[in-house]
Symmetry: C2
Subunit: 246 residues, 2 copies
Amino acid sequence: MGDSPPISVLLGSGGIATDERRQTYRDLVAAHFRDCDSVLFVPYASHDHSSYTSRMQEFQGPGGPTLVGIESLGDPLAAVNQMQGIYIGGGNSFLLIRELHERGLVEAIRDRVLSGVPYLGVSAGANVASPTMMTTNDMPITLPPSFDSLGIVPFQINPHYHPGKIRFMDGDELVEHYGESRAQRIAEYHRTSDTPVLGMWEGSFLKWYGSTGCLFGRATVFRKGEDYYRLSDGSTINSCIEKVTG
Amino acid sequence: MGDSPPISVLLGSGGIATDERRQTYRDLVAAHFRDCDSVLFVPYASHDHSSYTSRMQEFQGPGGPTLVGIESLGDPLAAVNQMQGIYIGGGNSFLLIRELHERGLVEAIRDRVLSGVPYLGVSAGANVASPTMMTTNDMPITLPPSFDSLGIVPFQINPHYHPGKIRFMDGDELVEHYGESRAQRIAEYHRTSDTPVLGMWEGSFLKWYGSTGCLFGRATVFRKGEDYYRLSDGSTINSCIEKVTG
């Protein structure tokens, strides 16, 4: 058996809305793409491709990678096969996976990433790195031909994870909401699937190397039939999302 | 043109978790099904059909209707065509609409309700009363053959609606969540659809008569390209979710 090529995947939960989180994002992203002259940005989770690409280029800051929007290139498939890095941004996962399937890019991106091309996915872009997009939080505004996704990590990601029930402001009053918690929704998913789910708290990142990964920030692990548990910052995990160290 | 038959549809947002909301539910449901000896209960949004039917029978209280679970009858289609009332309960909308399509019940339920059979839908059961299930909040744990739904009201329902961003408890601390608000998600829906959306606050109900309806509780109206606005308790609305009185 030959050596597998090294895999370099960085997944972000999203919610990168504080100075500290933005700095973590910029440090991790700059390091992740340090060997890339430019990176293919895939804005398909949004309806406004070119403006989204522009916004994300600004968001990188001065030390960040140069992004090339896939919408600016004539042949998306050729772009996937030629660019030195791939970044799929957030938005609506249903829209994103429909576009990826309709343009025939799912296998191409998977093959490139498994051959060592650095991949970054944030929010919807992290969700679709999973075997399926079934653990998204998004609204099904369009029906994709399939929920099958990139499968470049062997477990499901639930981005923007939060524990417990939610609350909201009803005028000046903070009130309880009685909809399902994320844990309840993930338990519903586990009624028909055995794949473990990594609930990534907002602002967290996972660096994945192909069979192990390292967590920056917090995450909660859901395995079918077991109690869920939290992973702390710096944890190292394996393909079953079992904690190796940390 | 002949007279259209009277239509009797009651939709509940869900979140029926306080004594006041339970009482409102029981009063409205008992009146809604007052002419029915028994009502067909459809528990397909849940994985445990018979236990869900039992729980919902208990939830009705002593003055409520007698529920007959569709899972207890040999022929679901015949049951839809024979029973005097239909009640679709909450759970996961993707699971629910997949079951309804696979069992060939979507048109049958629509036809029965449009011919005057009283319909009650709560949470997922209110969502699927819409033309499509695209404004659900649920997790896509299964891929249905279509998002097309019952279409017994001419607008979309977003159940468990809440305004603004959410908060959650991180240990003892109440913190902000940066995921999309419902209004942002519904705006995404309106990028590809013109159908107005009724965001029903938890505990609210809508009684629909075919071309007008009356709101019990609060709701927020989303019309493509317009500012959204709130409806107050007792509002009467038309098919475009325009306020007629109240």
